[in-house]
């Protein structure tokens, strides 16, 4: 390795990293600074208010509900998407008739923008007139007001997210499955292991690195992706389907309160940092173990 001289470092590092920092590190720090100021309009300029925004944050009942929503959303959608995608990958990998169709059907939602997916599901869910309602009525069931009821709206959002994401994860698992050495399975079979034993004892451990990768991705997406909330429920009814980033978006651009928006951003960055730390610890332990 050579020593990096200054002119070269400007081109190789300083310029690219400055662009990155300007829209990642700078806004994170700026959020922290702005969180100590009040919301400002031209008639009532922003003032330094110390920790008042954080007091508001602690007492904000809407935020508490949203933290619960976001947590539930993550702990349901991530395992559900992973389990479904493993199942899909196994099915597609089983070389059954109709595999091409299956692959297409699973993969299609992944390639669509979330906004398009949300449009489709909006009509799909429409109470009384949408397709699901019609199917329910056909079987003599009471139609469900999926998006209009606080008890079902978040779950309806989760279904949309899982539908969209599982296909992508399937692709990764499919790749991993195809890399499982066939002789390993063969050996197990000769020793008398059934297909279920083979899956849990041999295949699943080999899928672990994929699962880590997929889980991290799914976690980031569960925070990042709120397009369907904007289109389908706007967080309602009564905040039952609002997620953290949606709330930041609403507070900043709907309520025009970028000071509190910054405060919420700081909270979210800390939360993500904490999760990164936990993840790092887990991964670290894993490597020691191996």
């Amino acid at each position: 390795m050579k020593r990096l001289n200054f002119p070269l470092s400007v081109i190789l590092l300083v310029v690219p990293c400055a662009v990155l920092a300007a829209f990642t590190h700078y806004p994170a720090v700026k959020s922290l600074i702005n969180s100590f100021w009040s919301m400002g309009t031209r008639r009532r300029p922003s003032q330094f208010i110390g920790l008042e925004n954080y007091q508001t944050l602690l007492a904000d009942g809407t935020l508490h509900q949203i933290i619960w929503n976001s947590t539930l959303y993550a702990i349901v959608t991530i395992p559900a998407a992973i389990a479904l995608s493993i199942g899909m990958a196994l099915l597609v990998n089983a070389k059954l008739p109709g595999t091409a169709l299956m692959r297409l059907s699973f993969f299609l939602p992944t390639m669509m923008p979330m906004i398009a997916v949300a449009n489709i599901w909006l009509f799909f869910y429409a109470p009384g007139i949408g397709l699901i309602s019609q199917i329910f009525v056909l079987f003599g069931l009471q139609p469900i007001n999926f998006l209009g009821s606080a008890s079902t709206s978040l779950w309806s959002m989760m279904a949309v997210a899982v539908w969209k994401e599982a296909g992508l994860f399937m692709i990764f698992y499919l790749a991993a499955l195809q890399a499982v050495p066939p002789n390993l399975k063969e050996a197990a079979r000769i020793e008398g292991a059934g297909p279920i034993r083979i899956f849990f004892d041999i295949v699943l451990p080999l899928l672990k690195p994929t699962t880590v990768f997929v889980a991290v991705n799914a976690l980031i997406n569960s925070f990042r992706l709120i397009d369907h909330v904007i289109v389908m429920t706007k967080g309602g009814p009564n905040n039952s389907s609002a997620l953290l980033l949606y709330y930041i978006f609403e507070v900043t651009f709907g309520y025009r309160d970028s000071a509190y928006g910054s405060t919420l951003t700081v909270f979210m960055v800390l939360l993500l940092g904490l999760m990164a730390l936990i993840q790092f610890k887990i991964l670290d332990r894993k490597t020691h173990y191996q």
Binding site: T41, R42, R43, R44, T62, L122, A126, P127, G128, I129, V137, G140, Q142, P143, N145, L147, G148, S149, A150, K234, G236, P237, N238, N239, E250, V251, F253, G254, Y255, R256, D257
Partner: protein
């Protein structure tokens, strides 16, 4: 490229303005997606004004929906390049004044003739154009919700198809006759459908309160009256509609409502006059329009957008902007706009034009909206509108969804709103 042009344009204005004191290059922000049918008409009118005033020029900027247009106008104003004139939500008057970006219309419209022109607007549309005694907005694309009802369904239920319900009691009474169930007990046709979710729900709820003798927010944008008996009565009426089986239980979305009507899923709906065209195109049955049934009498909210003139532009430009607004609201032009879009023309003289009379004869439903304005009042609006309205929305959604009782939900909203608005008192 675009940026360079703007710089050149502003440089040119800077140097040339003293020489051509009466010419202005107006930028006009208009809230509509491009290529919507409305754009054609607005462009036509804009071009006509420019042709009449060769010393001026005007560039219409189609900036998407209301929220986007307001954001764009505020961002531009904060960057020192405000539009000269824009059509923005009437209820955003508080935000625009708080951000100090608009001027009172009377700053430029200050002659007796101007005053007479301003007096020509329907009073029902002027209340929310005024703040602290100053007129900031000129009504342009205004709307109001009405009752749409399925005349065939009325006939089938043995009701008079020309007498829609006028009171809340009649709504329930007729609604029961209009509600149909299948063999499994599932409702196939609801008696009525009033959207209760989101901002649309809050708008209609405001109408219920007005008809019950109340008013959710005061003209000053600071005082709210959410936990009043009138407001409570209105919310309990919404709950009663579901309890009596006349309306679907739980939250009802705004967006699906016209579709539910044309699909026969609801025998009557409450929605904006903006949906007249959709219903007219898609309903396969005989339908009519009526006043919103009221609690103590007729009552409705108004909605839609007003013209605003922005600060930070030259007096010549502001004078030109006023002339532009006068042109757009002149009887023939306002008639053209109203017919093309379904918005309620806000001046009596517009309704007297021959084209408008011919239109009203062809689509008498449009007249209902005009006549209802007499009983209409302003929509819920305050300073920090986005945040405060959300309190109202949450109260409605919680009460309609059965998570909170009406009185508690409204008291909670009142408390939250007061807390935020305290700073403005």
């Amino acid at each position: 490229m675009k940026y360079t042009k703007t710089i050149l344009a502003s440089a040119a204005t800077l140097f040339l303005t003293p020489g051509l004191a009466l010419s202005a290059e107006l930028e006009f922000f208009f809230p509509v997606g491009v290529n919507a049918p409305a754009v054609e008409t607005i462009q036509e009118l804009t071009d006509a004004w420019a042709a009449n005033n060769p010393q001026h020029n005007v560039k219409a900027v189609y900036a998407g929906n209301y929220v986007e247009t307001t954001t764009k106008a505020l961002t531009a104003a904060n960057a020192g390049k405000p539009p000269h004139v824009a059509v923005l939500l009437a209820i955003d008057i508080f935000t625009l004044v708080d951000e100090d970006v608009v001027i009172p219309i009377t700053d430029v419209a200050n002659t007796a003739e101007d005053q007479a022109w301003l007096d020509g607007f329907m009073p029902g549309f002027m209340r929310d154009a005024t703040l602290d005694g100053e007129i900031y907005g000129v009504p342009f694309q205004r709307s109001t919700p009405v009752l749409y009802y399925n005349k065939d369904a009325f006939r089938e239920a043995g009701l008079d198809p020309d007498t829609p319900p006028a009171t809340w009691d009649e709504m329930i009474e007729m609604g029961k006759k209009l509600t149909k169930k299948d063999a499994n007990g599932n409702v196939t046709q609801w008696g009525t459908r009033i959207p209760t979710l989101g901002l649309g729900g809050a708008w209609l709820y405001g109408g219920l309160v007005i008809s019950n003798g109340g008013q959710l927010s005061a003209d000053n944008g600071i005082d709210v009256a959410i936990d009043t008996p009138e407001a409570l009565g209105a919310l309990e009426f919404l709950q009663k509609l579901s309890a009596e089986g006349v309306m679907a239980p739980g939250g009802i979305s705004w967006g699906d409502t016209p579709k539910a009507f044309v699909e026969g899923n609801a025998a009557s709906i409450w929605t904006s006059t903006g949906n007249l065209a959709f219903v007219n195109d898609n309903a396969e049955f005989d339908w009519g329009v009526g006043f919103l049934p009221g609690g103590k009498g007729p009552g409705a909210p108004v909605g839609g957008g007003n013209f605003y003139i922005f600060k930070g532009t030259s007096p010549e430009e502001q004078a030109a902007a006023l002339d532009f607004i006068k042109f757009m609201t002149a009887p023939e032009n306002a008639a053209k706009w109203s017919i093309a879009t379904g918005y309620v023309a806000p001046r009596a003289d517009t309704w007297e034009t021959p084209v408008m009379q011919e239109y009203a004869a062809r689509l008498p439903q449009a007249l209902v909206a005009r006549d209802q304005i007499e009983f209409a009042n302003r929509e819920f609006a305050t300073y920090q509108r986005g945040r405060v309205t959300q309190f109202l929305v949450e109260a409605l959604e919680a009460a309609v969804g059965g998570e909170a009782d009406a009185a508690t939900a409204l008291a909670e909203a009142q408390k939250s709103a007061d807390r935020v608005l305290k700073a403005y008192k």
